[in-house]
């Protein structure tokens, strides 16, 4: 099998700026305070993914999951190291798709598809399926900023799954949306997995990762802390032993399976 994603020593720093104006900055400098600070969101991460693998990316909030996903998606470039991918990438980052708030849902579908490399004809071909799956009814021709948050992410997810991509990225996709829709999403992702597309799935819900993924990566403060088997990965991530009773895990399989991730 061919390599689908290769990440080599990828590092991404962010600059935190404390003061915005000249006056504030001068005062801070005179007082000997830091004017800016560096924050390493992803720290020397390396791994490789084969085509058709489905990866669960886990970690606490702020551990660098979304940043890593953005680098794989191409929105960000690593400061050092490399990120290489093969083929077309589709997916969602941080629940919302890249929608323009003033455009209608219809226009946004075309725009989104075009960004992912579809031509007008290819978009027309999937258009009806996208609309049907998203189930937003009359709102299709209303500007996206009138959508509820659930509708927005439904539409974004629908575009992403209908594009014939080689790599599918899903960041907290199931955090919004109601139960029937979550179920529909999981079924759809199952299909994507069966079709041999590479899946990169970010989630906090152990059960849905267990169901969807063959391999788990865990990020801890930007570093790759675990790479391997799903069960071991989830165990690794137990978020400390005293959290056990909060884990819905096997007890409430239905809910957690559907991804009670926030």
């Amino acid at each position: 099998m061919a390599e689908s994603i290769r990440v080599e020593h990828a590092t991404k720093n962010f600059t935190l700026r404390y003061h915005r104006t000249f006056k504030q900055m001068t005062v801070a400098m005179l007082k000997g305070q830091d004017v800016s600070d560096r924050f390493t969101a992803v720290d020397d991460v390396s791994f490789s993914v084969e085509q058709g693998e489905s990866i669960g990316l886990m970690g606490l909030n702020g551990s660098g999951k979304s940043t890593l996903l953005k680098m794989i998606n191409g929105v960000m470039r690593p400061d050092s190291g490399r990120v290489l991918t093969r083929g077309r990438i589709a997916g969602l980052i941080a629940t919302g798709a890249g929608f323009h708030p003033q455009l209608t849902g219809r226009e946004n579908i075309y725009l989104n598809a075009a960004v992912m490399g579809l031509s007008q004809r290819e978009t027309e071909k999937i258009f009806d399926d996208v609309v049907e799956f998203a189930d937003i009814g009359r709102f299709l021709d209303a500007p996206v900023n009138t959508y509820s948050s659930g509708m927005g992410s439904r539409l974004g997810f629908s575009v992403a799954v209908h594009i014939d991509s080689d790599i599918f990225l899903a960041d907290e996709v199931l955090a919004v949306g109601d139960k029937p829709f979550k179920r529909k999403c999981l079924e759809r992702m199952e299909e994507i997995r069966k079709s041999g597309r590479t899946i990169f799935y970010v989630s906090h819900a152990a059960a849905s990762v267990k169901r969807m993924c063959d391999r788990v990566l865990v990020l801890e403060k930007g570093k790759l802390a675990f790479d391997g088997d799903v069960d071991a990965g989830i165990k690794f991530l137990k978020y400390g032993p005293d959290d056990d009773e909060d884990e819905p895990d096997e007890l409430d399989m239905d809910d957690s399976e559907l991804g009670a991730d926030i």
Partner: protein, 301 residues
């Protein structure tokens, strides 16, 4: 575990016929023109978006230049008496105004383009040069209705177009396209880091309006400053304005040959070509700077 193994075997093997490559386009303006369909969508979106929820819609793009035109025509022409000094003054002002408006629009909307499209810039992997370029093309689109009005005004005052009309239009628009895109690239990214740049743009626009031979004529500059007119012509926008006036205004005057002799620089075409070349070089430089710092855009927006 056997379940998983069986399920894995069950899965289709997908062969991807593509090389392992960085996921982001990295050719700058070249990748913008490689993805023309996307560019077209963005331009159309920008045109529609600018007049969304407005009753008069695209009509606003006529009102803005027209209102400026009437101010200059009345204040400068009638009150200050420019009508007497410059033949067919309204056409003179209006042909300059189209170029100036094209530039200030490109510059202004280009500068705001990245911040204004935050939701797309932060989420989608597309060449970020797309947005300033789209802003320029939208402004170019708005040149059309204004030029249409200008042609009518020219015809009404007895216009004889010549070959210089064609070259003048092409050269003038080319200069502004390169210059506007170059500045839009730099200022759009600068505006992401410090919003001060967005405010500075308006001030520069004011200078542009009075730094070109629009409300006054090049002949007057020549009379007052003599050989210093050379330095005046170092401004590529002034060159573009002159070229546009060569295209429209000259042909509408009483004696075009005489107007060219007294009202146009001696080396109009040579200066225009040099300006075009310089603006192109500037564009290349700005693209290089843009590529250097665009990495930091997502974290700053």
């Amino acid at each position: 575990m056997t379940d998983l193994a069986a399920e894995r075997a069950d899965r289709m093997v997908r062969v991807v016929d593509a090389p392992l490559a960085p996921p982001s386009d990295n050719l700058g303006l070249l990748s913008v023109f490689r993805r023309r369909y996307l560019l077209r969508l963005l331009v159309r979106r920008e045109i529609q978006g600018r007049y969304a929820n407005s009753l008069m819609g695209l009509f606003w793009s006529y009102i803005n230049p027209m209102s400026q035109f009437f101010i200059y025509w009345f204040v400068m022409g009638h009150i200050m008496g420019a009508h007497r000094g410059i033949e067919n003054y309204p056409v003179h002002v209006f042909s300059g105004l189209i170029v100036v408006h094209f530039f200030t629009e490109t510059f202004g909307s280009g500068t705001r383009s990245l911040v204004g499209n935050k939701s797309l810039v932060n989420r989608l992997a597309l060449p970020r040069e797309m947005f300033p370029v789209a802003a320029m093309l939208v402004s170019l689109y708005h040149v059309l209705p204004a030029s249409f009005i200008l042609v009518i005004a020219c015809l009404a005052t007895g216009w004889t177009p010549d070959l210089g009309t064609l070259f003048g239009i092409l050269l003038a628009l080319g200069i502004i396209m390169f210059l506007g895109t170059a500045l839009a690239l730099i200022f759009s990214v600068a505006n992401v880091f410090f919003r001060d740049f967005g405010s500075a743009v308006g001030i520069i626009g004011n200078f542009v309006r009075f730094g070109v031979p629009m409300i006054y004529s090049f002949g007057q500059i020549h009379d007052r400053f003599g050989s210093f007119a050379h330095y005046y012509l170092a401004n590529p926008i002034a060159n573009a304005v002159l070229l546009f006036e060569r295209a429209f205004w000259v042909g509408s005057t009483h004696d075009p040959a005489e107007t060219i002799r007294t009202g146009m620089p001696v080396h109009l075409w040579r200066d225009g070509l040099i300006a075009l070349g310089c603006c192109f070089v500037l564009l290349v430089i700005c693209q290089m700077i843009f590529s250097k710092i665009e990495n930091r855009i997502p974290e700053r927006l």
